[in-house]
Symmetry: C2
Subunit: 341 residues, 2 copies
């Protein structure tokens, strides 16, 4: 909670949010290119959480995270002329790989600005898809300036990691699939960083089940969304060293506007809880997820975690059904945070 | 290949192999207690192997490995009187947890003899299911003697990890499910240690697809099955320090008899190849598998790996379809073999 507060970035004002029709169109555009990821369950995790949990496994998604949904929608919907000039973006990792991958599908170039402390495995993925990396200081300011400079030099189209309606509608397709498989969810928990995944989740879920409760899960060490929702004023963080390396960005006006309207709350998770939840998912569910994903189940592994969501009782008397979006599985296996317990 | 050769253990002579009808009955007995595990595919692994691979994910099975299939069949089929006196077994880990779990289902006790170098995560699992562990020296001789002593003292029923028809028929249900999902496989690769999984796989697969090719994958550091099949005489190994801790046992007459009849070959894999395949499955498929599992795909990740299987061409001209049994996912996350590359 000691992260430096800065003024929010001077983004353009958010306009109206994407519509359900746009989400349906995005899904139609990208479906043949991405995986319909499975939804897994775990009796052990149900028992510990006193809930019925449904894990949407975007760690199994192409490029190893949900980010390909938004990147694919943004890049596949470009005109041939725009696509020809290439794509530029800035990202700490998963969006970077997704843009490089989708750019390769369009047979065009991708310039990727990455903070110099990005995990090597994420840099390697960008290179594997043929993306050209420019490293910068690990601050949002440096990332933005570097991307703007490249955009000016090359004429490439900027595909922002979250402050972009095409990206948000792409990310919205994960919750659309989850609710198509399990329409009866009482709540969904998803990680929040820039808010692309979470705001897209809100749009799909609110349309498909109006009464659903929606929660963001955020590192206490990068708590801008929590503070923004509490204060009603968009707050910033210029840098954070949370282990959840995918969650070091902060909301934009566009995502903030959606979250203010739809979210029931932001749940803060400390570093130890993130790592413990990650270890739990690896050991018990035998799946590889990154810290930015395990954060979305961490609140339910704490004593009293379920009660803190304050969900209304189900009419069938069963434990609440909660969707968890496991956003990605890109971790550097050479430097894992598991020490001998 | 430098492991000390010992005389084979003086097991009883193998009689006739389990029948298809017994496998069907075993499946009916255990199906409600175990998971129908998913079969995963990976375009990346298909590309690298020049084959179509179908991964039967027993790492997602209850207790984290296929071993619950055989243990459940053996223990659920006991008479009430036999069950009451409890179960004893010796195992380096996964069979231990499986016996403890299935014994708990029967509300009876389980005495488990484990070599003192068993992974802690596997010991913890036994304890979590209420099993009582007795540690012994890490040799097959010590394991066997200790189990026999406990059996004499308690009157418990011995459930051998593999030299038991009820166990073999239970393990056979994994390949039965795999071929029910994908009947068109040209070959199946599975790890081999004592041969319970592999001989069960042979029985199911040969019945369901008589022309199928069947291969065992074995650590070069514990190559008794390879040498047994080569020489036609059952060979032994009293101890091995292969990282594939589930593959340190050796064939019994019962499993050897089945493998001699059904197997196309044993593929030897060195330690580096086991670790490299494990890392590959974790990084690319985002699943947690143990070294004893990754060994079953390792031969196909080598240059010329597919050719070494010498499979006949498919009539449809497509790449061969190969089933891989990923036997388990119980690893100690505190001591992983991944160093900075």
């Amino acid at each position: 909670m000691s992260s430096p507060q800065t003024s929010p970035e001077p983004e353009q004002e958010a306009t109206s949010s994407p519509t359900w029709q746009q989400i349906v169109e995005a899904h139609a555009l990208i479906a043949a290119h991405i995986h319909r990821t499975p939804v897994l369950t775990s009796q052990t995790l149900n028992r510990i959480s006193n809930a019925q949990l449904f894990f949407k496994c975007e760690n199994f998604q192409k490029t190893g995270s949900f980010k390909i949904r938004g990147a694919a929608n943004a890049i596949l919907s470009l005109s041939a002329e725009d696509a020809r000039r290439g794509i530029v973006t800035q990202s700490s990792g998963n969006h970077a790989a997704a843009v490089a991958c989708a750019a390769a599908w369009r047979n065009t170039r991708a310039w990727i600005v990455m903070p110099e402390n990005s995990p090597r495995v994420k840099c390697d993925a960008v290179k594997a898809f043929g993306g050209k990396i420019t490293f910068c200081e690990p601050t949002l300011t440096a990332r933005k300036e570097t991307a703007t400079k490249i955009q000016a030099e090359t004429g490439a189209t900027l595909v922002h990691p979250y402050d972009d309606d095409r990206v948000i509608t792409g990310q919205a397709t994960a919750a659309k699939e989850l609710l198509a498989d399990y329409s009866d969810l009482d709540a969904i928990l998803a990680p929040v960083s820039g808010g692309g995944l979470l705001s897209g989740t809100c749009l799909s879920a609110r349309h498909l089940k109006p009464s659903i409760r929606l929660f963001g899960c955020e590192p206490a060490k990068a708590d801008d969304a929590y503070r923004s929702l509490q204060s009603g004023i968009l707050q910033g963080i210029d840098s954070s060293d949370t282990i959840a390396d995918g969650l070091r960005a902060c909301l934009a006006p566009r995502t903030f506007a959606i979250l203010r309207r739809e979210l029931s709350g932001v749940l803060l998770v400390n570093e130890e809880e993130i790592i413990s939840a990650m270890r739990f998912l690896w050991e018990r569910m035998k799946i590889v997820v990154e810290p930015s994903s395990s954060i979305a189940v961490a609140p339910l592994l704490k004593p009293g975690g379920l009660a803190s969501l304050n969900l209304p009782p189900r009419s069938d008397g069963a434990p609440p059904k909660i969707g968890i979006i496991l956003s990605g599985g890109n971790v550097d296996l050479s430097s894992l945070p598991f020490s001998r317990a």
